[in-house]
């Protein structure tokens, strides 16, 4: 019953109260900020499945986000596909890319996995930047149609808000079921001690690939939403710094927590907007929030495991002599 009440409050707030307030304060700009927060909430929730729950530090999430965005943009501008096809296709294409790119890295552990995914993210970014014939390179893709359905709704701030909000809620539902279930326990076991998990009959490599595939699917959908709602994308949107931003949102919100991921996105994207009156000093405040949150809230606001312990484990694996250096057989 309590669960039912809290879910209805959440739905009411996201679907009625928030758009109401945004329209009342004059829409436009604040709608854009909110949809950006929504897109990054999906990204952070999905990255959280890999990093927070399965314990693999992924630094290439922006790359997968980019694959989703470019898939959507190309399908929508060249083939004129509607959003209800582009978004799922973008998710599936990204998941397939995620699996193919991740396969060779799955035996890597700890910091080595992080560096490999950093490399993957960079490869994707550089490809988007230089494959001019296909992606238009640094010029980016413009005039991507918004989210509209003939006779029902046309592309507008409020439509985009609802599209992002509903997909974010769906992502939270799916990722929530994956993490708060026995399946989630299996993923957490991989995070806590992968060798021990294997000796208890868990297919560790399989679990890692699955969590990567689910996370990439939602990163791709988030990319698609970004393309549709902004109308213009360029490789600059999918740089390494975006991966770090996603990681920072996860750390501030708390590893392994879905509400935490949303909270992290709200804080790290909302704060710079609220602080706009103080000009460029606001980025110092944002940096300070990250710095102090890791010092005084090592578990983040809502995390289930301490960031420092995850990092320590990641680095610790690098010089544990009893293990194969950097990878598992």
């Amino acid at each position: 019953m309590r669960r039912l009440i809290s879910i209805s409050i959440l739905l009411l707030a996201v679907l009625l109260v928030l758009p109401g307030i945004l329209s009342a304060v004059g829409g436009g700009y604040w709608f854009r900020v909110t949809t950006t927060i929504g897109v990054f909430s999906i990204l952070t929730m999905s990255a959280n499945l890999i990093t927070g729950t399965t314990g693999l530090m992924s630094l290439g999430h922006a790359g997968f986000y980019g694959i989703g965005a470019y898939t959507t943009a190309l399908l929508a501008t060249k083939l004129h596909w509607p959003f209800f096809l582009t978004l799922p296709v973008a998710g599936v294409v990204t998941a397939v890319f995620g699996i193919l790119l991740a396969l060779p890295t799955m035996r890597l552990i700890g910091i080595y996995f992080a560096v490999a995914t950093l490399g993957l993210g960079e490869i994707i970014h550089v490809t988007l930047l230089n494959w001019v014939d296909f992606t238009r390179g640094p010029m980016g893709i413009s005039a991507i149609p918004g989210i509209s359905l003939d006779g029902l709704f046309s592309a507008s701030d409020i439509t985009h808000y609802y599209a992002v909000a509903i997909i974010a809620l769906l992502a939270a539902l799916v990722l929530g079921r994956l993490t708060h279930s026995y399946y989630g326990n299996a993923l957490r076991a991989v995070r806590e001690d992968d060798q021990c998990a294997a000796s208890m009959g868990l297919n560790v490599v399989g679990l890692k690939i699955q969590s990567f595939a689910f996370a990439c699917f939602f990163a791709g959908v988030a990319g698609g939403l970004w393309a549709h709602t902004t109308g213009y994308i360029s490789p600059g949107d999918f740089r390494f710094s975006e991966s770090i931003l996603i990681l920072a949102m996860m750390v501030v919100g708390g590893l392994g927590s879905i509400p935490g991921a949303v909270l992290g996105a709200v804080i790290l994207l909302g704060l710079p907007e609220v602080l706009r009156p103080i000009g460029d000093y606001r980025m110092i405040v944002v940096g300070a929030v990250m710095f102090f949150s890791i010092l005084f809230l090592p578990r983040g606001l809502l995390g289930e495991t301490s960031v420092l312990s995850v990092v320590r484990r990641q680095f610790g694996l690098a010089w544990d002599k009893t293990l194969n250096l950097g990878w598992r057989q």
Binding site: Y183, A189, E192, Q195, G201, N203, V204
Partner: protein
């Protein structure tokens, strides 16, 4: 009837180090076997070979007539070999219940589809297995506590509970009595005896000789990677070769 576990000429080299060399041995169904030997004899390496944590350099391991030598560790676990670790490896950030559910997940499989469609039968099966293992080990009152908050002795039982949730046919215990006081050791021996009474085969490494001698029906002795003796506890404890391996030869002692 062939033995449940049969190790044939197992060898494992780490570079020039012969950690396990030409080891042959077996565990019969329902048997309690002890593996003893001085430090560095290769006991834990042998356990890692049996559970396919470490690949064999040569030789073979058969479990229930199946050659498991080239299988992945998780496949071996699913066939029915569960183990505990010398240095406890409980998952500190998970609750006791969640820790034990890992074993049940290993036995029943883990599909994301089951989570997405909320398959209740599957969840109930895992829940039931987990509770059974918790009750067997007397941890049911601690189910919701974080594993990190358990006492050392309780954590030992948590590891065993997690292994039992796999419903293994062979339970491998790596130094189960290390760090326990006499009362706790006696309780543990009684508990292992009860598991054995339920038909579970047990292979254990232990340095506490009273524990091994009172509990095990047969004892294998390892030194420098080789098996040097195999027999009943009485036979082994009077074997001059064993005494020499533990205490040094008589000439040296004199």
């Amino acid at each position: 009837m062939t033995p449940l576990l049969e190790i044939k000429n197992a060898c494992r080299y780490f570079g020039g180090l012969h950690a396990v060399e030409d080891f042959s041995g077996h565990v019969k169904r329902g048997e309690r076997v002890g593996l003893i030997g001085p430090n560095g004899a290769g006991k834990t390496t042998l356990f890692n070979l049996i559970t396919c944590f470490t690949p064999l350099s040569s030789g073979a391991v058969f479990f229930d007539d199946t050659d498991i030598s080239s299988l992945k560790a998780y496949r071996v676990a699913r066939l029915g070999i569960a183990r505990t670790f010398q240095n406890l490896r409980v998952m500190p950030n998970l609750s006791v219940f969640d820790n034990v559910s890992i074993g049940a997940l290993g036995a029943l499989g883990h599909s994301p589809l089951a989570a997405l469609t909320k398959r209740t039968n599957y969840a109930n099966d895992i829940g039931r297995r987990t509770w059974d293992a918790l009750e067997q080990t007397g941890l049911q009152d601690h189910a919701s506590e974080l594993a990190a908050n358990l006492s050392y002795g309780k954590r030992k039982y948590l590891e065993i509970a997690r292994a039992l949730a796999l419903s293994p046919r062979l339970l491998i215990l790596d130094e189960p009595a290390a760090g326990l006081n006499d009362t706790e050791t006696a309780q543990l021996a009684e508990f292992v005896l009860r598991l054995s009474g339920e038909g579970l085969s047990i292979l254990l490494v232990e340095h506490d000789m009273n524990f091994v001698m009172s509990l095990c029906e047969r004892v294998m002795v390892m030194a420098s990677g080789r098996k040097i003796a195999d027999g009943s506890p009485q036979e082994v404890s009077n074997d001059p070769v064993v005494l020499e391996a533990y205490l040094g030869s008589e000439e040296e002692a004199a």
